[in-house]
């Protein structure tokens, strides 16, 4: 509890005279690897989210290839049924919780402060905590392969009673429950942190309705996370208590109702879909205007439709349960609610098209991915409409038609959009461009592989192929399209490897190429007004925002006749990144230490309660040390800047960073 921490008096230049207890100091940045494990810099944390998520993308992709290899031919014995069930479960869990969500978190961490003109997030140490807790949960989840008797084998949706100890006696499901609880803590902390950042840390003039669409969509996402995660937390705890402490939440023999799990899971699970998709919507809402040379069409409609999707996402969960016997009236109500979520979604698609309409379209790699997102998501959205017809869904649900649908939404609508973001912001993050030619090859192989993999699944599903089957017999007409899908999945896998090759080669070639400058895409939001890569202190001077797309209007003016006149080059208008004396929050090791304690508690619950004690001591100790270390170390040097000028911040801009005074009550 940082409750005794006093908000730091950076503005007045007073030094924090007293170190609580006088024993703890904040570490200092000195350019070694320790900078990374102790960092509280939102940019470093964003990069770490991205790298770790990419690792889990490869892992989840490997699992996907194993699935597709098994299904390439009928009656295949490549994987046993047991291993297959574990792999498809872990594929889903990995891709959703360990890839898409943290990859979106990478963008949220890196870009929210930059887009709203802030020096960091509201609670820098909590931000580091979120990352380390997420990573420890992710690693914990995957150690079940080694020490848990295999991965969870209940599907990512883990319906009871199949997830009960009787039907899943290995520890896989325990790892699933605890692992997702830990990553859930991380997401919850991060959601509160980033929401406060958006609401409280905006630069002067950056009113809510001047925030870029990306920041808006990320803000909606944080609210969805904040309200959806407690529900899955309860569900996972009940499951864990059933398995570990013999409680009776899901045992039908004792009179419990398996539908309880389904309701709790999908009340979380449906907003989760929007948690996955909205960041991508935000990203392409930045990319498409930049490469159409037009502002986003209908900013307020874009924002409000995003908010509407966020709200409506809470009223449709039972469309995952149309055949579970919840009664025809419930089915009808949820069917209707689900249909009308198509309206705000349709508005978004039409607004993207209208943004492009009449524009000068430059198909850079980022633009290709963004347009790919719009088209693939449209397909996924339209097949989604066909599931909202409750009667038709009784034929489609739990078939490959659904698998096709949600991959078009999550991969087509989500992951392609995230890749658009990768190509778009890469120069801002790393100071060099990703090679465009290779990027385009990456895009086209990915698009082709994706459609070959998931397109045929529409047909397979309508032909009656069930989901989650480890094998199928010949004679049902499934052979050909399964083989096509498998070939497609290998192309998709190759495209991801090719992307990594592009990253490697682009990095190698970078020194011989001209630097991209602050604003390589002639873009519109504040992050392009500062050098690439972003200086550690983000902004030399917090910008004063005068309009939407403020940065663009510093470069261009729209004359009375509607023509656009350049008033400044990007280089001239951009900040130089040479400010000195910017005092940033000091690093800290305690988020990492705290995060290490949590999986130990998890292992303790599963194997030996004494480990819980060890983990609890570590966590508790870290919280205490967190509280007792100074909010900032008065002896610390400015990070990479030789500043000892705590007092030279006359505008008081820094108070927003300094006053961060981290608050761990959030974990209460």
């Amino acid at each position: 509890m940082a409750i005794i921490e006093e908000p730091l008096a950076l503005t007045s230049g007073e030094q924090h005279a007293e170190r609580p207890l006088g024993v703890l100091t904040r570490p200092q940045a000195n350019g070694s690897w320790k900078d990374w494990v102790s960092t509280v810099d939102h940019k470093k944390i964003g990069i770490m989210y991205g790298v770790a998520a990419m690792f889990f993308f490869l892992l989840g992709g490997l699992e996907a290839l194993l699935i597709r290899t098994q299904l390439a031919f009928p009656e295949s014995g490549f994987l046993s049924a047991d291993v297959y069930n574990q792999i498809f479960t872990m594929h889903g869990v990995t891709m959703i919780f360990l890839f898409v969500m943290p990859f979106a978190a990478a963008f949220a961490n890196y870009l929210i402060p930059l887009q709203i003109g802030a020096r960091d997030v509201a609670f820098p140490r909590l931000n580091a905590l979120s990352f380390w807790v997420w990573l420890s949960g992710a690693i914990f989840l995957n150690t079940s392969w080694i020490v848990g008797g295999g991965g969870a084998d209940c599907g990512w949706f883990c319906y009871s009673p199949n997830s009960g100890i009787t039907f899943s006696p290995t520890n896989g499901v325990d790892f699933y429950a605890i692992g997702l609880l830990i990553t859930g803590i991380a997401s919850l902390v991060s959601a509160v942190n980033l929401a406060v950042t958006c609401l409280n840390m905006r630069a002067p003039g950056m009113s809510l309705f001047r925030m870029p669409v990306l920041t808006w969509m990320l803000l909606v996402t944080q609210f969805l996370l904040a309200f959806a995660l407690p529900v899955i937390t309860v569900a996972l705890l009940l499951l864990l208590f059933d398995r570990q402490f013999d409680s009776q939440f899901f045992d039908p023999e004792a009179g419990a109702d398996p539908l309880l799990w389904q309701h709790l899971f999908w009340i979380f699970g449906h907003p989760e879909v929007y948690i996955i998709i909205l960041p991508s919507f935000g990203i392409i809402s930045e990319v498409i205007p930049a490469f159409s040379r037009k502002p986003i069409f209908g900013y307020s409609f874009m924002v409000f439709s995003g908010i509407a999707i966020g709200f409506m996402g809470w009223g449709v969960w039972a469309h995952h349960m149309f055949v579970s016997g919840i009664g025809p009236i419930s089915v009808f109500a949820f069917s209707m609610a689900t249909m009308f979520i198509a309206v705000p979604t349709g508005v978004k698609i039409l607004n993207w098209l209208a943004t492009m309409w009449g524009g000068k379209l430059h198909f850079s790699t980022a633009m290709l991915f963004a347009v790919g997102t719009v088209t693939m998501f449209t397909i996924g959205g339209l097949s989604g409409v066909t599931h909202s017809l409750a009667p038709a869904d009784t034929q489609q649900t739990d078939t490959y038609y659904i698998v096709a649908h949600f991959h078009y939404v999550i991969f087509g609508g989500g992951v392609l959009g995230l890749f658009a973001g990768v190509y778009f912001w890469w120069p801002k993050v790393f100071g060099h461009l990703l090679n465009e030619r290779r990027g385009k090859i990456h895009f086209w192989t990915m698009l082709i592989g994706f459609n070959l993999t998931f397109g045929p699944m529409h047909v397979l599903g309508l032909q009656g192929m069930s989901r989650r089957i480890n094998t199928y017999s010949s004679g049902f007409g499934f052979e050909f399209w399964n083989l096509v899908a498998t070939i497609g999945s290998y192309i998709l896998g190759a495209s991801v490897l090719y992307f990594l090759w592009n990253v490697y080669k682009s990095k190698k070639e970078a020194p011989n190429l001209p630097a991209p400058g602050p604003d390589p895409w002639d873009a519109r939001s504040l992050e392009w007004s500062i050098p690439s890569p972003t200086p550690e202190h983000n902004f030399d001077e917090i910008p004063v925002v005068e309009s939407q797309d403020d940065w663009w209007f510093r470069k261009y003016n729209i004359e009375d006749d509607g023509s656009v006149v350049r008033i400044s080059s990007a280089e001239d208008a951009a900040q130089k990144g040479d400010a000195v004396g910017v005092h940033l929050p000091s690093p800290s090791f305690w988020p990492l230490v705290l995060a290490i304690g949590l999986p130990l508690i998890g292992y303790g619950v599963i194997f030996n309660l004494w480990l819980c004690v060890v983990g609890g001591l570590l966590t508790g100790g870290a919280i205490y040390a967190w509280v007792l270390e100074p909010v900032d170390d008065p002896d610390a040097d400015g990070h990479g800047h030789d500043d000892h000028h705590d007092g030279d911040d006359p505008d008081g801009e820094l108070a927003t960073v300094g006053a961060a005074g981290d608050d761990t009550e959030g974990e209460g």
Partner: protein, 418 residues
Amino acid sequence: MKTIRKREKPVSDSRKRLLGAVALIGLITAGCAGDAELDTLQPQSDNARDIDTLLDRVLVIAGVIGVLVLGAVVYMAKKQRVKSYDGDDEFPEQISHNNTLEIGWTIVPAIIMVVVAVLTTVAHFSLNETEANAYEVEVEGDSTSWEPKIVVVGQQWWWEFRYYFTEDVDADFLDDPRNLPPADIVTAGQMVIPTGQEVELLVTSRDVIHSFWIPALNGKRDARPGFFAPWEISADEPGVYFGQCTEFCGLSHAKMRMQTIAMDDADFQNWIDEQMVPQSAPPENPDDPVSRGAAAFLANCSSCHLVEGFNGDEDIAAAVVSQAAPNLTHFASRTTFAGGILNTYTEDGEWNRDDISQWLRAPEVVKENYANGLPDGELPRGMPNLGLSERMISDLVAYLETLGQKPSAEILAATEVE
């Protein structure tokens, strides 16, 4: 049994073609129709047809929208593309919004969805309409008015079907899925219904959640433990209709299949008559494999499996998690076994010794299960490997062949999946 025939398979299907276009893989269509026994687009009953019609209409709407969106993107990509912006300070008109337009394209999708909603509402409520339905059957010589109703029970990894001709069957009567009241007919893997009748189903489970689905006849319905989910099914024509469990139910979920056989009235009555006859012990004769097989059955199988009239006439609480094993009284009258994955008769209509022997020899190889080498206190799920000798296996196969009447050639032929 004269009218049973294979369903006609159209060569191609226009909806698939449409969907293929939507999915940017237009090549999909022409060759794909094939012989898909589980195809959801070839309805064979009123309900399935209603669903199909609804989906058809919405797929057309979705297809048009999809083509418009993709077309717009392709059009713009062709017309408005520029190589790069280098040295080009020419900007297109900076239009940031147009409220009329935007309100318009909020309202238009809403109107489209209202149309879809109306179509759905009509279909939904007509599908959930049940009519009381009386059907005359003769049970043990007495004519009785049966409201066609079958209790469908899922368990890892097979389906049981129970027929009560004289009781008023509802959740109160059935009470506990693991301890159901004795039924007139109990069968497994293959449900038999009278053609042209709306048959009500009460779907439940003895362990985890399963889902009962015969795509040609209706959508699916989850089998949830502790709950009897109402559902209905009917078939226009006599025939064999295939199904697959669609709710993930553990290890051998993929190998949990079922079939529905629709028979015309006379055949259905014959089937009832046959199923109502209990078995009796074959005369003891150590030289007769059937007799030896019956003894082997008593020694090895009878603690879980019931042959009515031979090893009891009550349900047996099998020592497995679901407390149930298939009732084998009329095993030879079914064309499929082992949870609908193996055929009881070969393509030539012969008793399928090979597959039945293999199932008895190593059930866990045919279909993965948790039945062997379990830790203490853990109950099996699936059929255990009993370590039977080859001689015992062949005796058992011979005995099983005597349980019930061989089905008609038409049914045998229709069971083959090609």
